[in-house]
Every structure is written in structure tokens, then in C-alpha cells.
């Protein structure tokens, strides 16, 4: 039996050598080759908390403060992983802004409220009205969002319209004006019968509230970019054929007619009887459209990446939560003809992310925190954080319109052969009609109009293999250009993280400006 013994010895030697090799390679290879760029982690919320997250933000001292639908405001210390109750009893708070470590401004249903701990015991004792100078009909859908603060210290909030799925109360707050509701046959017209439903409002530092922009339907999310531009999302349905990201400017109207009745010196009576062409010419179009059923159905808060690289390569771009699925969307904007337009692409799908992504905030360490909500809809509960692992994502960094097509810049050099294959770029274009919701059409149904394939005529790759310039058969303003990327990889053969990208082409680039 010596042979057997030798075999054993050899086996032992072999396995030792193998473990040594594994050990050495573990030292030599710093990064696990299958490591993802981003990881989603769950944050444990306290027992007994129904974690329907209405707002999250970080305090100057690095702790997280969150408010929840049942009225709690709680503070989480990421170091000790402990939650503490700060305040309670608020009515459906859907947004929170930290003034300092012990003072917050919270948007609740009836009021924008300053909540303070004045005796230093860690719990709020003062609930001070900032403003309640806006209407409440008692309709369940009159949600209030914000506040966000501009560089001058003004606050911005937005007010949802009321839903035909609910009624008004007999006791309301504010003037009642029934012409803010469409009375033609049909089921789905959201309405604005108390002030200033469907508006973005500005609250000055002395607490005065002023109408700022109208025409919103369900504006569940406000955010500034680094240059101080205000962006607000809106949710698809009547008059909003697919969900939107608007660049909000004072005095503009964004398309849903109900809110028009609260325009100063409004003399047009029922805004729903204004001819569609006129309404269309009055409105400011979305900077970015999120195709329904494809990109997002209920986009929420837009948040600018202010982490300067701590969260990966997308500094300055916007992340937008999506309620209907396990997704965060990324938005890449550019100015064309003096106005913002641009593209949206999934940022993260799945990876343990839940649905119901309602609120976003960057922690001081650059991780992106996400608060989820369901509140009688198809969402979820809880708080998660998305951590950048330092591994460069393989993704589209930007999509820019040129005179004849698009320039795509990627986060990494690409495999040239695959990147130069025209079959890897499938374009379609389509648009959504601006219209009153057709009677008997599902409230969440959107119809792509003039859906066509668009072929790519010419392709060019940059010397660093990061930029692809495409020339298309045609470019039409007023269309979404949807691009499905195929089997493109980075130089090491890693496929793209996200392959579907939709560019909202409102304006063409003039030929002589293209260089």
C-alpha cells in the first residue's frame, strides 16, 4: 500500500500549494474582479415603527434625521446604529430640512412647521408655524412636499392637486373655487379647488408664502443642482402623459390646467375650457421625460450628486427615486438653445434595493441614503443606503446631443470592436401627446405616438475609446430618443451596468454650434 500513501502525500502537497496560491493571489489582487461598483445595505429601523419614510436628511453632526407618515421624527446615529425619537404627532410629514442639530423645518399636511428642541433633552418641545397660508380641502391626495432651500435662504415647497378618488370635506381651509375642477365627463381629472394646489411655492425667510410656478399635478420631489437651478418631478396621468422632470422658473406654467385658477388676477374662468393649442403654447415642457412603464412611473425626489466623487463618477448629475419598482434613475442634463434637456438612465436596478424609493440624501461619507414609502400604494417600507465601493462602474457617463446625432461618453474605455458595432445601438423615437386624459382610458396608461426605429448612419470612437459619436438618420424636436445599448463592454470585457437610455429632445443643436 505504499502507493496509496504517496498519493495521499501528493494530495496534501497539492492542496497546500493550492491554498498558498489562493493566499498569494488574494494578496496580489486588490479588487475582487466580480465586485460591483455599488452595494445596497439595509438600515435597521426600530421595532414598532411603520417605516413609511416621508423625509430624510443629514445633520451637521453626521446623524440622519427621518420623518415618517405616522408623525414620528427620529434621529439615527450611523456610528452606534441607534435610533432616538425626536418628535411625534405630525400630520403626514413628507419632507424635512435641518436648520441645525436640534431644529428642523418639516412640511406636514396642514403646515410648514419649525420643530425645535429648546431645552437640550434631545426631544422637540416647540412646534412653531412657519406658514399655513395655503388651502386644504381634506382630500387625501393633497400631499405637500419639500422644503428645499436656495442660496438666499428661501424655501420651496410644492402642493399636490386633489384626487377624484376622494372628496372634499365640508370644513375646508382657504377659499373654495370649484372651477379648479374639470366638469366635463371623464374620471381622472386631478383638481385644485383650494389655493394653491398644483403649485410650487416660495417661502421667504420672514415666513411669507408666494406662488412661484403652476401646472403641477403630483410634484413629489424638489431639488436644486449645484448652480442653484430648481428641479421638480411630476407623476404621469391626466395632462401629464408620462412622468417628468421640470426645470422650475418663477411664473411658468407646466401643463396641468387645474392650478391656473390660482394665477394672480385670473380672468379666464374654467381653465379646462382653454383650447389645447393655447394651453400647449402656455406651458413649459419638461427638461426630461421618464417614459411610462419603461423608465419610471412615479418618480420622486431629484437629488444632485454633491459628493465630488465620493459616490462615484457622476458628480453634478441628478439621482431620482422611483416608487413603482426597485430602481433609482440617473439624469444627465445639458443646455441646448438656452434650456435644459437631457437623458435618463437607470442608475441601480435591484441589487437588494427595495421599491417605493421616495426620499434621497447623501451622508457625509458620500453614501446615498434612500427612504421608502408605500402608503396604500405599491411601494415598500424602510431605509437603505447605497455605498460606492471604489470600483469604477461600466456605464454611460453622459449623452449629449450634436447637430446630427449623439455623443455618448462612457465611464471607462470600451472594447473597440464591440463599441464600433452598429448593431449595439438601437434607437427608437416617439412622443407623448399633451392632452386631457381620454375618457375611459386607464389613469396610468400612456401611449407612445409615432413610435419608429431610427437607424444610426455613422459611428466614430475617440482615441481614448471612451467617447462614441453617432450620426442618426434624422433628429426631430419634440421626441424622445430611446437608445438600447447592446453587447458593449469595457476593455476587460465587463458588460454595461445599464443599457436603456432615453433622451428628451426638445430643441435641436444648431449646426454651427455643434463644434
Amino acid at each position: 500500500m505504499p502507493g496509496k500513501r504517496n498519493k495521499m502525500k501528493f494530495k496534501i502537497f497539492y492542496s497546500l500549494a493550492a491554498s498558498f496560491l489562493i493566499f498569494v493571489s488574494a494578496i496580489l489582487v486588490e479588487h475582487d474582479p466580480v465586485k460591483e461598483a455599488y452595494t445596497v445595505e439595509n438600515i435597521k429601523t426600530p421595532d414598532g415603527l411603520t417605516a413609511e419614510t416621508g423625509g430624510i436628511t443629514f445633520l451637521p453632526d453626521g446623524r440622519l434625521v427621518a420623518c415618517f407618515i405616522r408623525g414620528e421624527v427620529m434621529i439615527y446615529d450611523p456610528k452606534s446604529k441607534e435610533w432616538k425619537l425626536f418628535a411625534e404627532g405630525l400630520h403626514e410629514p413628507l419632507g424635512i430640512l435641518a436648520v441645525n442639530n436640534s431644529e428642523f423645518i418639516i412640511m406636514q399636511r396642514p403646515e410648514l412647521t419649525r420643530v425645535k428642541d429648546t431645552d437640550g433633552d434631545g426631544q422637540a418641545d416647540v412646534y412653531e408655524k412657519v406658514t399655513d397660508d395655503f388651502g386644504l380641502s381634506g382630500n387625501y391626495h393633497e400631499f405637500n412636499y419639500g422644503p428645499v432651500k436656495d442660496k438666499e435662504g428661501n424655501l420651496f415647497v410644492s402642493f399636490n392637486t386633489a384626487s377624484p378618488g376622494g372628496n372634499v370635506k365640508s370644513k375646508i381651509r382657504g377659499e373654495f373655487y370649484p372651477l379648479g375642477r374639470d366638469n366635463q365627463p371623464g374620471l381622472y381629472e386631478m383638481y385644485s379647488v383650494v389655493p394653491n394646489r398644483g403649485w410650487v411655492m416660495k417661502v421667504t425667510s420672514d415666513g411669507k408664502i408666494q406662488p412661484y410656478a403652476s401646472g403641477l399635478r403630483s410634484p413629489n420631489g424638489l431639488g436644486f443642482d449645484q448652480q442653484g437651478n430648481l428641479f421638480v418631478t411630476d407623476n404621469q396621468s391626466d395632462w401629464v402623459e408620462t412622468s417628468t422632470l421640470y426645470h422650475i422658473k418663477e411664473g411658468n406654467f407646466y401643463g396641468h390646467p387645474a392650478s391656473l385658477v390660482w394665477t394672480k388676477d385670473w380672468k379666464r374662468g374654467n381653465p379646462f375650457t382653454i383650447p389645447i393649442n393655447e394651453l400647449d403654447s402656455m406651458r413649459t415642457k419638461a427638461a426630461v421625460l421618464f417614459p411610462q412603464g419603461i423608465m419610471a412611473n412615479s418618480p420622486s425626489q431629484p437629488l444632485c450628486d454633491i459628493t465630488e466623487g465620493k459616490f462615484g463618477p457622476f458628480a453634478g448629475q441628478l439621482f431620482v427615486g422611483e416608487m413603482n419598482r426597485d430602481r433609482i434613475v440617473r439624469v444627465m442634463l445639458e443646455k441646448v438653445g438656452g434650456e435644459f434637456q437631457g437623458a435618463c438612465i437607470p442608475f441601480i436596478d435591484g441589487h437588494g434595493l427595495r421599491k417605493g424609493n421616495n426620499r434621497l440624501a447623501f451622508a457625509p461619507d458620500g453614501s446615498l441614503w434612500v427612504g421608502q414609502i408605500t402608503f396604500g400604494w405599491g411601494g415598500d417600507y424602510g431605509i437603505q443606503r447605497i455605498v460606492y465601493n471604489g470600483e469604477q462602474p461600466t456605464d454611460v457617463y453622459s449623452m449629449k446631443l450634436t447637430a446630427k446625432g449623439f455623443d455618448l461618453t462612457f465611464t471607462q474605455p470600451l472594447d473597440k470592436a464591440r463599441a464600433m458595432d452598429l448593431n449595439n445601438y438601437k434607437f427608437r423615437h416617439y412622443y407623448y401627446k399633451y392632452q386631457r386624459k381620454p375618457k375611459n382610458e386607464g389613469a396610468d396608461l400612456s401611449t407612445q405616438q409615432d413610435l419608429q426605429n431610427v437607424s444610426v448612419k455613422h459611428i466614430k470612437i475617440s482615441a481614448d475609446r471612451k467617447k462614441i459619436s453617432l450620426i442618426l438618420d434624422e433628429l426631430k424636436p419634440g421626441y424622445i430618443y430611446e437608445l438600447k445599448l447592446g453587447d458593449i463592454t469595457n476593455a476587460e470585457g465587463k458588460p454595461l451596468d445599464n443599457k436603456l437610455i432615453c433622451y428628451t429632445l426638445n430643441k435641436l443643436v444648431l449646426a454651427d454650434n455643434s463644434k
Binding site: 426600530p46 421595532d47 414598532g48 415603527l49 411603520t50 413609511e52 407618515i69 405616522r70 408623525g71 414620528e72 435610533w83 411625534e88 404627532g89 400630520h91 399636511r109 396642514p110 403646515e111 422637540a124 418641545d125 416647540v126 412646534y127 412653531e128 408655524k129 399655513d132 386644504l136 380641502s137 381634506g138 387625501y140 391626495h141 377624484p164 378618488g165 370635506k169 370644513k171 375646508i172 381651509r173 374620471l187 417614459p291 412603464g293 419603461i294 412611473n297 416608487m323 413603482n324 419598482r325 426597485d326 421599491k355 408605500t374 402608503f375 396604500g376 400604494w377 405599491g378 415598500d380 427608437r428 375611459n440 386607464g442 389613469a443 396610468d444 396608461l445 407612445q448 438600447k484 436603456l500
Partner: protein, 379 residues
């Protein structure tokens, strides 16, 4: 009793469905999509190999499809529908998958479509689901295929949405004890101990109302619109169940009985007594957890704190008006004839309490409600 009711209902339900399944004939099942992302029927059963005629009606105002999947594959199918991305609308959000057994495309409101199929021979729980984006996680039900027609107890049925597991004992909810019991299941990450409050939708109040729970089983509703106490009750506090479901019009329900209701919109006046005062709510401060409301009457600051009487038989309202500079009047509710009022200051003249500016700096109105005294005695 509840269990018996549930069993009885299940039997009735079973019998009703069986009645539609005569020998050698097709089983007809009607399912409606209804408001709140749900199917009206969340479960039914058929025999293995039975001919099934499924009629699907969209009675909601959203868009819905209906897919029947292989057992245990609902979430997988929902996920593959989401992955259809740009092809989803043209495919009616129906993934091409062997896990989808039968499907009805997206229907608009009031549309009806039916399909006929032969039920699988393999017994089991076959989910049905709407895969329109965002719907699939909450909008589903189950077709049980079995020879004996048995379905699990609806309360523990893992194949139906959690919100529908209590459908069968809705009437039991009217029972006061069960309402209070449901209050005791954790509503918050802490045990609320009176005094505490909610800003919340209440009956007979403006949409900005505040409900306050006091010790001694007393509660009151205070309205920032009129800046006044509008009613008070004893018993439990409030049941927020309907409101907290979200996405529906609902008010919190008071638990107990109202012993006081204000009959004057503005019971407190400063200076000009004829004029309707202009009141403005400013906020509140918690003092030992009791809210002290701050508001102005015609520009004059008023602070109001409401405490329970020590014996629990009424409320003590403390008003502070530091700078009234004028006569202050308080109108006690004389319609509340079984209540007794005591005032710490001022003079009662023809049913109106009149106070000098100095007296108004701080005064209390104590209300003893004999309905509370008698109720307590009965206990």
C-alpha cells in the same frame, strides 16, 4: 365567535363557487380589478382538469392585466415583466415565459375580457397577478386547484395580499373591544402615554385639527383654524387605522363618547366684542408633554393650556394673555347644561365672563361635566 363567523363565511363562499361548477360544465369565475390596486376576488378553487371560464373586468380607473402563473412564480413573473423595459408597453407587460400559463392583456377601465382554459391536473396554488408596473407586488390572488376544494384559513393564507386576510371579520371590527385591542398593537416605536397628540383629520373639524390624549381617559380636539377647543370626549383616544392605510379619504375615529362640544366659534374676545375676531395660529410648546397653544386674537398673543381635572371629571383651561390692554371676554358654553364652570378671575355678567387686562394675564376656566361624574360613579 369570530372564528365561527369566518368558517361560516368560508363555507358559504365555497358553496357559492361550487354552485357554479356543475358536472361536465365550465367553472365560471368573475374577477374585477377594483380601486386600491386589488382584485375583488383574491382566491377561488377549481378541480384538476376543470374547464374554466375566467371573466376579467377592469372596474378601477387604472390600467390592469391579469396573468395566471405556475405555483410559486408570481414574484419571478412580476420581475420579468419589469425587465421588459422598452418592450413592455407593446407586450402588455406580459413576459414571454413558460411560467405564465394564461394571460389577459391590459384593459382600460370598464373593459371586460374573458379566457377559457383547462385547469392543470397538478394540484396546487396558482397565483394570478397584474403585472402593470408597480401593481404586481400588491395586486394578486390565487387559484387553488384541488379535488376536495379545500383552501387554507383565510387569515393564514400566504397566497393572498396581507390586507385581505381580515376581510372575513370586518363586522367584528365594529366591536369596541377589538378596536381598542388593535390600538394596542404597536402603532409607534414607543408606547404612547398620555398626554400626547396627533395633528390629524378629525370629524367636525377643519383639516388642520389637533387631537390630544390626556390622562384620566380624556381627550379633546383643538382646531387651529378657529384657535379653539371644539369638542372633548372620554373613553379611548382615536383609531387611525383607516387613515394610516393611505390613499383614501378618511378621518381618525374617536373612541369613546363626546361629553363637551363648543357652541361658539370664537369663545374668547379681546376689546371689540361685536366684531368677529381675526385669529391666527402660531404653534404650540410642550409643557410636561401637554401642548400650550399659541395664537393671536386681533394681533394680541394668547397662550392656552388644557389639563384634565385631577378627579378626571372635566377640563381646566388656562389662558394667558400677557398684553391684552383691553377688556377680555370669555363665553362659556351655556348649552352644555350638565356642566358647571368655575373661573379663577373676572365677573360673570349675563353668561359672559368679563376680565380686566390685568386679570386676563392669567386665568383658568374649570369645567366639571356631570356626565363624567356619573359615568365614573357607575364604574
Amino acid at each position: 365567535m369570530k372564528v365561527i363567523n369566518a368558517i361560516l363565511l368560508i363555507i358559504l363562499f365555497t358553496v357559492r363557487l361550487n354552485a357554479q361548477q356543475p358536472e361536465n360544465d365550465a367553472t365560471t369565475v368573475s374577477i374585477k380589478a377594483i380601486t386600491g390596486l386589488q382584485f375583488d376576488v383574491v382566491r377561488f378553487h377549481v378541480k384538476p382538469g376543470a374547464k374554466v371560464n375566467l371573466i376579467f373586468t377592469n372596474a378601477d380607473d387604472m390600467s390592469h392585466n391579469l396573468l395566471i402563473t405556475k405555483p410559486g412564480t408570481r414574484l419571478e413573473v412580476v420581475d420579468s415583466a419589469l425587465k421588459l423595459e422598452e418592450r413592455a408597453p407593446e407586450l402588455n407587460y406580459i413576459p414571454k415565459s413558460s411560467q405564465v400559463l394564461w394571460s389577459i392583456p391590459v384593459l382600460s377601465p370598464n373593459q371586460t375580457k374573458s379566457i377559457s382554459f383547462t385547469a392543470p391536473i397538478q394540484t396546487g396554488a396558482y397565483p394570478y397577478v397584474c403585472t402593470y408596473p408597480g401593481h404586481g407586488f400588491v395586486m394578486y390572488g390565487v387559484m387553488y386547484v384541488s379535488a376536495d376544494g379545500k383552501m387554507p384559513d383565510i387569515k393564514n393564507d400566504p397566497n393572498i395580499p396581507p390586507s385581505r386576510k381580515q376581510d372575513q371579520d370586518v363586522h367584528a371590527k365594529m366591536d369596541m373591544h377589538s378596536v381598542q385591542a388593535s390600538q394596542k398593537t404597536a402603532s409607534h416605536p414607543y408606547e404612547p402615554i398620555a398626554p400626547y397628540l396627533y395633528r390629524i383629520f378629525m370629524d367636525d373639524a377643519s383639516p388642520a385639527a389637533i387631537a390630544v390624549s390626556l390622562p384620566s381617559d380624556l381627550s379633546y380636539c383643538w382646531d387651529p383654524e378657529t384657535c379653539s377647543l371644539i369638542y372633548a370626549w372620554n373613553g379611548g383616544f382615536i383609531d387611525n387605522t383607516e387613515l394610516w392605510k393611505g390613499h383614501r379619504n378618511a378621518n381618525a375615529k374617536i373612541i369613546g363618547s363626546v361629553f363637551y362640544r363648543e357652541n361658539t366659534t370664537y369663545p374668547l374676545r379681546i376689546g371689540n366684542l361685536q366684531k368677529t375676531p381675526i385669529v391666527k395660529f402660531k404653534g404650540y410648546r410642550l409643557i410636561n408633554r401637554y401642548p400650550e397653544f399659541h395664537y393671536t386674537i386681533d394681533g394680541v398673543d394668547v397662550f392656552e393650556l388644557i389639563l384634565p381635572k385631577k378627579d378626571g371629571n372635566g377640563l381646566i383651561r388656562t389662558f394667558k394673555i400677557p398684553n391684552a390692554n383691553k377688556i377680555v371676554c370669555f363665553y362659556p358654553n351655556v348649552e352644555n347644561e350638565s356642566a358647571e364652570y368655575e373661573f379663577s378671575a373676572g365677573k360673570l355678567e349675563q353668561g359672559v365672563l368679563k376680565l380686566t387686562a390685568k386679570e386676563a394675564m392669567e386665568f383658568t376656566v374649570t369645567m366639571t361635566n356631570y356626565s363624567l361624574v356619573y359615568a365614573r360613579k357607575k364604574k
